[in-house]
């Protein structure tokens, strides 16, 4: 089981984990299972400013193209370069190797959910 301690979640199914100055963003296990096989990600350039809840990029699975949203605001410092050749990492390890971007100068988002609240939200969506 992945270590989800300290992670918070958006209702658009992204997670964020802040460590020091840096926030790491990815999509949740539920999101990857719904998307199915990820084949391509369109990600922002380093230095780009993102708003909390704003569009981050696009994730393409075999099934469809879906928008990604940034759970928090900030400046992009890194996009996961490994995903270019291994987009399947998002499916295999969404909370680890499948991370998507890192941000600095983070502007927090009070609307984010903790794990328990997110799990309850997902439970409510799948019924």
């Amino acid at each position: 089981m992945a270590d989800l301690s300290g992670m918070r979640f958006a209702e658009t199914h992204e997670w964020v984990k802040q460590e020091g100055e840096t926030a790491t963003v990815g999509i949740t296990e539920y999101a990857q299972s719904q998307l199915g096989d990820v084949i391509y990600l369109e990600l922002p350039a380093v230095g780009q400013q993102l708003d909390a809840g704003g569009r981050l990029g696009v994730i393409e699975s075999v099934k469809a193209a879906s928008d990604l949203y940034s759970p928090v605001g900030g400046e992009v410092t890194e996009a996961n370069a490994e995903l270019k050749d291994h987009p399947e990492y998002v499916n295999q390890d969404p909370y680890g190797k499948g991370w998507i971007i890192k941000l600095r100068a983070v502007k927090d988002n009070p609307k984010l959910l903790d794990q328990k609240a997110y799990d309850a939200f997902v439970e409510g969506q799948s019924h």
Binding site: G36, D37, I39, K63, A64
Partner: protein, 361 residues
Amino acid sequence: MTAARTPLYEEHVRLGAQMTNFSGWVMPLQYSSIREEHRAVREAVGLFDLSHMGELRITDENLVQRVVSRDMTRLRPGRIQYAVLCNNAGGIIDDVLVYAMPDGGYLLVVNAGNQDGDFDWVRGHAQGAGTVSNVGGDWALVGVQGPRAVGLVQRLTRAELGDVKYYAFVEGTVANVPCVISRTGYTGEDGFELFCGNADAVRLWRALLEEGQSDGIRPAGLGARDTLRLEAGMRLYGNDMDADTNPLEAGLEWTLNLDKDFIGRDAIIRARQQGLARQLVGFKMVDRSIARHGYRVVKDGEGVGTVTSGNVSFTLGYNIGMAYVPPAMAQPGTRLGVDVRGTVAAAEVVPLPFYKRPHPK
């Protein structure tokens, strides 16, 4: 309306499939991963539930001749042909497989979503009652596809499968289940499609899965079916063609016997004389972006066509698609653009099919 379930529904749920609604049926989209299921079919063997497909029995040869695009008098019993049904304007109502049955009648295997419409259309052209019946509800259909499919099915049947050529069929038993054993498929691989009674479907499915363990068999869902058929350049009705498309535009001239009278023939001949406005082509994406159904095709800043299918090709390692474009842009090597969410991505016309299986050794 609730979606219909095939006789294998419980098997899919037990195998952990993600289910989806497709043409009024609840079908497995994927069991584990579309990528892995796709790979199993290309490299080993995959098992498909195709029981949603429709079947029509037609006993009157004149009626078959009237509604399908090919000359069925040339089709020997035990053989199968791909053909289209057209409306009076030459538009494609459906694409079908026609089986010449040993008793002299015909079986049309039709798309799930078109089954009732096809039945009404064919019945509307019948002279006298009782010559057409909609038997889709009586049959289950299981696809066994991949380089190890023939060996697998052979271990479960006494029928000599080496004698069953591509697009031919025999009646026999597989795992003691009475079947029509048809050497056909929608994946670009060798293999069989097995028609059996609904009550026997679970027994057949389980026997194939168990016997196929040593071959690396995987159950495969509609997701892999779609990526496989696209690589093989096979059109998907409703995506790549519909009632507003004629067979010439869809690149299906080879399914037409225009020296035979059938519904839509005259309109198709007229369309050919007038010259086509558009033509279905295959293309590959130059960069990593993915074209999808409905995306605009552009050239020199102008919209010139529409993408009908697009996805990753797992086998080839790049992204592919099909689109309607003006005939002047249909030559392989032609550079086109695809409007991917407001950005023009470069694409190049390539010959169909994208993928052809290696010749058997």
